[in-house]
């Protein structure tokens, strides 16, 4: 009844369409009510629902015959939430910032005292550098890493700083905790961090934290360039854009995080 268009992606697409329908009821629902919304014939709808139940994407109450969201979907959801929630939420904002600036943009979170890159947008003229979504890098010598460490609470920050290797990638890399802590203090005060060829020669960046409304740390994002094309002063022009985008992502993430309960 909803649509008559051909369905893409075969059985998988159809099964997911039914998942959406069940979800859209916002409450346990019976077969016939699903069928009314289903673009598929009765037996197909029936079997697809059976499959989804067998896969625990839906649950089916034997007594009442009601279908509801299943435990596997909740488990996937919970896990996705913990590990990747920022990336899908931030994606449209990264796109916008990428279009506006044409520069290389990274989104990252902390992972075991290291920087985990969640997403990336390439510059119009890409820079040859060593990063990608999914890649793990050091925290103490990247713009995003420093921005995140600087905005942790004192206890967490000490714990994370203690786990840094302080290996000297370049002559400009911080190589001891004392100097590095002073840098973090400065970053916390200014709200921005810079990577001045501290990880890779020629590669520079400006980064800001992504914070929730109460200051909870969600991650960080950066705009990257190279010494051939820009100076730190040039990058500083992006500070406002970056902070605005980070603020929007943080607010958006916070809104998603806190479902209203109890009616």
């Amino acid at each position: 009844m909803t649509t008559e268009a051909e369905f893409k992606d075969g059985t998988v697409g159809k099964a997911l369409a039914l998942l959406d329908i069940v979800e859209s009821f916002k409450a346990p629902v019976k077969f016939n009510d699903i069928l009314k919304q289903s673009p598929f014939p009765k037996p197909s709808t029936y079997r697809l629902l059976q499959t989804l139940v067998s896969q625990e994407m839906l649950s089916h109450n034997e007594d009442s015959g009601h279908y509801a969201i299943g435990s596997r979907l909740i488990r996937l959801a919970h896990s996705a939430w913990k590990n990747a929630s920022l990336a899908p939420i931030a994606a449209p904002y990264l796109d916008a910032l990428s279009n506006a600036t044409g520069e290389t943009i990274h989104l990252a979170k902390l992972d075991n005292a290291q920087t985990l890159y969640l997403d990336k947008r390439n510059a119009l003229k890409p820079i040859e550098m060593f990063s990608n979504a999914g890649k793990i890098g050091p925290a103490y010598c990247t713009g995003v890493g420093k921005a995140m460490l600087a905005h942790l609470g004192p206890t967490a920050r000490d714990k994370h700083v203690a786990q840094q290797s302080f290996y000297g990638y370049t002559p400009k890399t911080f190589t001891n905790a004392a100097d590095f802590n002073a840098e973090l203090d400065a970053i916390k005060r200014s709200g921005v961090s810079f990577d001045d060829e501290e990880h890779e020669p020629r590669i520079i960046c400006i980064a800001v934290p992504v914070l929730g409304p109460q200051g909870a740390l969600y991650g960080a994002m950066s705009i990257t360039s190279s010494t051939e094309r820009a100076t730190l002063q040039d990058l500083e022009q992006y500070k406002t854009d970056l902070q605005n985008t980070a603020q929007q992502i943080g607010a958006s993430a916070a809104a998603w995080m806190l479902p209203k309960l109890g009616g």
Copy 2:
């Protein structure tokens, strides 16, 4: 490589197996790494991933080739969370309580100042009554409804009480807000509520709220019987069991709700 067993549920089962694999990496991951975990041949794995991307259950970064959890899964997750999160979390606890007591058990949440039944376990000797998962009932004359209203904050409680119809289903139904508010005060003090044939003749129950550690209201649960088989005093024996179960569900729900962010 993970398993050689036959796969149930055709393409849908296979696609979901790949979803699980991508999720298990907890971070964006490349095709070849997925392939190593995949029980399916390369082209099948490849096409299933394409399908999942096309369906936005996964995202695929064109530049880096990384697969990650997609926006549709996050959207489903978010919605499932808001609307049904208690049911799958509570299911095993309801099973245990059902086995232990052999009685009819309900799990409910507030929905627009009404009671929405999320799940139900039938007694060994079922009672003929008018409830089911997915059903919406009144809040002011059911055990779970009263338990929930009693544990709202003052503002929310007034708002919800104002929306009750106070229709007199039975001679024992509360029919005005003043008496009802006194009842809610008593329930708040004792931590339990009873339905003494207030909605349906012969049907009685004992109910407790499901609360988070800081007192956030998640829902309520009840044990139901009939006047032929039990008295309110008999039901009161279940108070401790009910409260323990509700406490476990509340703690479990709270743990799921609050993902740790920022490493």
